[in-house]
Symmetry: C2
Subunit: 337 residues, 2 copies
DNA sequence: GCCGGTGATGTTAGCGATAACACCAGGTCG
DNA sequence: CGACCTGGTGTTATCGCTAACATCACCGGC
């Protein structure tokens, strides 16, 4: 019964393989000048001891970690959650660990504190999912030199940014309704300080302008089904409303329920389009036509941009946009009138 | 224009404060034997230099990191996503960083690989969200000595485990339907190899047994609205079905739509109860009665169990269960017959 | 007035890697 | 055939911290 001794270190491997620890290091880092036979001996020793390099020691001497910090809101909104999950997977495949710093609210202080925590950890780079303006503001405080990429952040700021092409998605959705024969399209929007919501408003308006359709007032909501329901109750009472584009699927769900309660049939009386394509959208009543963002693509672009900064210190094209696609289901029909 | 010099280290702070680096270390670690005046001088120097301790160096000498590794599936299922988010927040408050290792599928090899990646990082502890049996199997390979907590894992295994009391939630839901006057309750279940699903089946059956109600066959599905819809199509054709307990809210959504298509009104003709209380459940048609797990509580219990293991090496009570609550809305009514 | 204890601080020795340089054998070349 | 390169390897210094021990002033007690 012996005391658990410490984990094997490089010198233990070296001793077993009959070489110096430096040679072990060379094998580990794939340096060219190692004889094949030596390499094999070292690898065998590594395996035999179940040796794993000590990252702390490596980080200490190189000054670099293999860690990426992500700042995200503590919410289960479908978009951010999908993005985060996709990013973690992509980063993992690239050999980076991902440390997630959750933030309760997206205000300047919380974001700044989360970024600081990551800097304390000496992460190689930071990704901030900063979907609203106060979150974006916080990034002004981050000193240059820390590789940083913003996702869904402020398009008017100069930080490297990856985002879904909200305007295009909204344009397509609105256009689809107009093409179905509707005279105009109403819009239930997400919170005004969210860039996603703003971009969708912009795309919606552009589509209406393009066909000289009348632009009705934006119906403001947050992202919740509850607020969509309230917006829907209002719209359901207005007979001139025949088409509604909602800023996300949950808003659309609320609208759907309000319409159903008021006896306005979707899509016969009113057409509805959402945004996000949550997995259950196909099982709303009726199945929802919606816009699907490609979160995996956003994640990959983000990682690419970050890795570029980490290695070069600079970035060639610091703004990237990923186009979403319209998914047609049964919530859109020509107006009945 | 001078070259960016290296980050300040402890010796820089020491020099500025006119003390030795060891004294700086003592201040940082709140050692008692430091004169108040010295402490203040050191703190001032730390602030002036914007000094941050190098965690790699600390980890190297102490052999411990302040990192917790989490293994989770790459999915956006509401339950796991909520749990993860809650855990990250709780761990952050306790001063730990959380590294998330995503896994595409919950099979033994992937889980084992993810655990290994975390061990390479020398995390202080590991949390595995292991909701099905193949995931749980992988943990057999983890050597003792690595603090490990399983969430939603195998109740029959001896690893420390935290879980929602699935059986109680399901029992309450089923009981609620029986109390409303239904002769029996049908069940649309999640995948059979998920412990969550199994626990819910068990609770459902217990409630039926307790009132000597007939136990209809389990309708098997996965967690998706699509599979709920298929199950619902079948159940809708059976006039004797008046009450359905679904293993999660998305299944319930699919059932709701199938019922609506077949002209069976919920709750007038058929009552439905779900599980999870997703935020939009209140806006289904009709608003869904469901069971709400307390993910924050699960997260806290998990963290507590893990920290106990990290400090003591042992655990007093390695199994913890968190009771969910029934949320009553409008999808349950007495049978019409 | 000397001794031992105690509080405040400094000094030294690692932790486990990589970097930089030193070294040595063997081949190439003028 | 000696100078020079070059591939393979070892040696030493170093990263920034904490642990352990050393030091020193000051205190009270006999």
């Amino acid at each position: 019964m012996e005391k658990t001794s410490r984990d094997p270190a490089m010198t233990d491997v070296a001793r077993l393989a009959g070489v110096s620890h430096q040679t072990v290091s060379r094998v580990l880092n794939n340096h060219p000048n190692v004889r094949e036979q030596t390499r094999l001996r070292v690898k065998a020793a590594i395996k035999e001891l179940d040796y794993r390099p000590n990252r702390a020691a490596r980080a200490l001497v190189t000054g670099k970690t293999q860690l990426i910090g992500v700042v995200a809101q503590n919410s289960t909104l479908y978009g951010p959650a999908s993005l985060l999950s996709a990013f973690e997977e992509a980063a993992g495949e690239a050999g980076f660990a991902v440390s997630v710093g959750r933030v309760k609210v997206l205000d300047r202080d919380s974001i700044a504190a989360a970024v600081e925590r990551h800097r304390d950890q000496r992460v190689a780079g930071i990704v901030v999912i900063a979907p609203n303006s106060s979150a974006a503001d916080a990034l002004a405080d981050v000193p240059a030199g820390v590789p940083l990429v913003t996702v869904d952040g402020d398009p008017d700021r100069s930080t490297p940014l990856v985002t879904v092409d909200q305007a295009k998605g909204a344009f397509d959705a609105t256009k689809h309704l107009i093409d179905a024969g509707h005279e105009t399209v109403w819009h239930v929007s997400g919170p005004a300080d969210w860039f996603d919501a703003a971009g969708r408003v912009q795309g919606w308006r552009a589509a209406l302008d393009a066909t000289s359709a009348e632009v009705p007032p934006v119906v403001a909501a947050d992202w919740s089904a509850a607020s969509g329901y309230r917006a829907g109750q209002m719209l359901a009472r207005m007979p001139e409303v025949t088409a509604v584009f909602c800023s996300n699927d949950h808003l659309a769900l609320g609208v759907l329920r309000a319409m159903s309660e008021r006896g306005r049939s979707v899509p016969h009386d009113v057409s509805v389009v959402g945004f996000d394509d949550v997995p259950e959208a196909a099982y709303f009543i009726p199945p929802l036509t919606t816009v699907r963002p490609d979160f995996a693509a956003v994640a990959h672009e983000t990682l690419g941009l970050l890795l570029e900064q980490i290695s070069d210190g600079e970035t060639t094209r610091p703004r990237r946009t990923v186009a979403p696609t319209l998914v047609k289901r049964n919530s859109v029909a020509p107006p009945s009138r």
